[in-house]
Symmetry: C2
Subunit: 312 residues, 2 copies
């Protein structure tokens, strides 16, 4: 058990708000004046959550996008955000960061409410925090990770693995295929899809740390087993890496996908573009069956460092 899990256990012993969901979910809720707000906050750390030489535009975009993805997982529409920014010491870099941030704020309609701007000591690693606030319609459901029921079908909002392959390419100094790299650098949160799925989803979350590790989190929170029978790959990824079991396991553990994972009743019909990848049964954990055969889970299911994203 890492000190991170121990720390989050300690956090749970602090006085928790009603909407904190035990710090186990992507976001918290706050009901005020009859309306329900959704609150989430993610920190991006240089060399941990992005590459130190990623362009500032893409880091600014990503900071907004990863938080918007948490709002998407709750079916919330963006209301506003606060940003905590560490000045880089290079005004041109800071300005480029803001233009990437702005592109995401404009695209998804999330205005800035406030935040904080700080100077870091010389040479310090940068980190950036954004706290996003969303709202759900009066009486609207805010699905969490718990609630998946035996018999439910598992749906994914799109293919996985592109971003992980893009990251691996960048780490090898390669710039192609561009489609994979751009999925890593500028993820597209599925806000519209989240608003459609939230009223009908028994459980929902975004896949940020890897399909297998995030599916295991949903299984644990729901006290069920998730059976995954398909790992959907984009055409770009299949062309680049093939479709064999190894390629699909890599895609299912890569992370940074920011697609939605939802458990729906078998009769529910999600929008076009959603992909049925498996089902829910009694039991615990994640079971992988590919091409009709049981497949052993790989030793590493995804990014553990992101587990702290839970709870808002």
């Amino acid at each position: 058990v890492s000190s991170e899990f121990e720390f989050i256990d300690l956090l749970r012993r602090l006085p928790l708000a009603n909407g904190a969901r035990g710090l186990l979910d992507d976001a918290a809720t706050l009901t005020t004046g009859g309306e329900t707000l959704v609150l989430t906050s993610d920190t991006l750390v240089e060399a941990v959550h992005y590459r130190a030489d990623d362009s500032p535009e893409t880091i600014g975009w990503k900071l907004a996008a990863v938080n918007l993805s948490d709002l998407a997982a709750k079916g919330a529409r963006p209301v506003g955000c606060l940003m905590n920014y560490a000045l880089s010491g290079d005004p041109a870099w800071d300005s480029a960061f803001l233009s990437g941030l702005r592109a995401a704020l404009d695209q998804y309609g999330m205005p800035l409410l406030g935040g904080d701007t700080v100077r870091m000591p010389d040479g310090a690693s940068r980190s950036y925090t954004l706290t996003a606030i969303g709202a759900v319609m009066a009486g609207g459901r805010v699905p969490d990770r718990a609630g998946a029921q035996p018999g439910d079908i598992l749906w994914l909002g799109g293919p996985v693995g592109d971003a992980g392959a893009g990251l691996a390419l960048l780490n090898r100094g390669e710039q192609h295929p561009e489609a994979l790299i751009s999925t890593y650098l500028t993820p597209q949160p599925q806000l519209a899809l989240g608003q459609v799925l939230a009223p009908i989803a028994h459980a929902m979350m975004d896949v940020s740390d890897g399909l297998l590790i995030d599916a295991r989190r949903m299984a644990r929170a729901s006290d069920v087993a998730l059976v995954i029978e398909q790992v959907p790959l984009s055409m770009a990824l299949a062309a680049h890496a093939g479709r064999n079991i190894e390629a699909r396991l890599a895609a299912a553990t890569a992370g940074d996908d920011y697609v939605l994972l939802a458990a729906l009743a078998p009769e529910a019909v999600p929008p076009l573009g959603c992909i049925a990848i498996g089902y829910v049964e009694d039991g615990e954990g994640v079971r992988l069956r590919l091409d009709g055969e049981d497949v052993s889970l790989p030793p590493r299911l995804g990014w553990e460092h992101g587990s702290g994203r839970s709870g808002g």
Copy 2:
């Protein structure tokens, strides 16, 4: 003009929410379902906002307290908070940080809603962010820095300078007088006072960067001049540093006080403990008159690094 001011100017060109107050205030407002929320977020950076060898308990306390002080300045009661925590690598240190944080959350009734826990690269400077959410009573006023009117009396929620003297003592390796050091390490946000003053204050803010620099911010936002005729010192500070002009100028530029500064109509009566320190007149900037004589402003009015706290 520092790159920080240029950066905040760029921030103002992003799409701003209605309640962002032009990023010029201590906090933002969000009206939802007929209720008004107050939102603020402050980041503490190691070796910038606290000393690297301050105890983890006091850093945890301070992270909550500086944000609670922003809620106090808006007359809001705490509703919840999100914390973004950078693991130290030392579980005992992290646990001590949480016990200090918990003490503040318990004392001021602010439960945890969520946040994020991250690992930093080895040896990286730590920083911690807390985003606090408060609420005001339906129809309640949320004073900002603008609104001070010629003829208003300036009131301070308590003496200034203790924390700055405490910081100077710690930087010299001294541990006494304890009263000064504890004001620096564990500031006490004036939440109850803020709730009493908010309905009657023409303008209000917390003094965090130094009385003179914060007064100048209120003067600018209100488009008036603030005349300060008294710099109130605690008995502990007067005993330690005396009451001459130099001691009072040091106290008025020291920062980390976290007392409220409010401009009230002359007929308004604030609670006991508030100290009238001057008045508002036509003009601009801050004018200092001590012992009946005009006093030149010192070249440094307070901490510029904290200016980024504006806007939430």
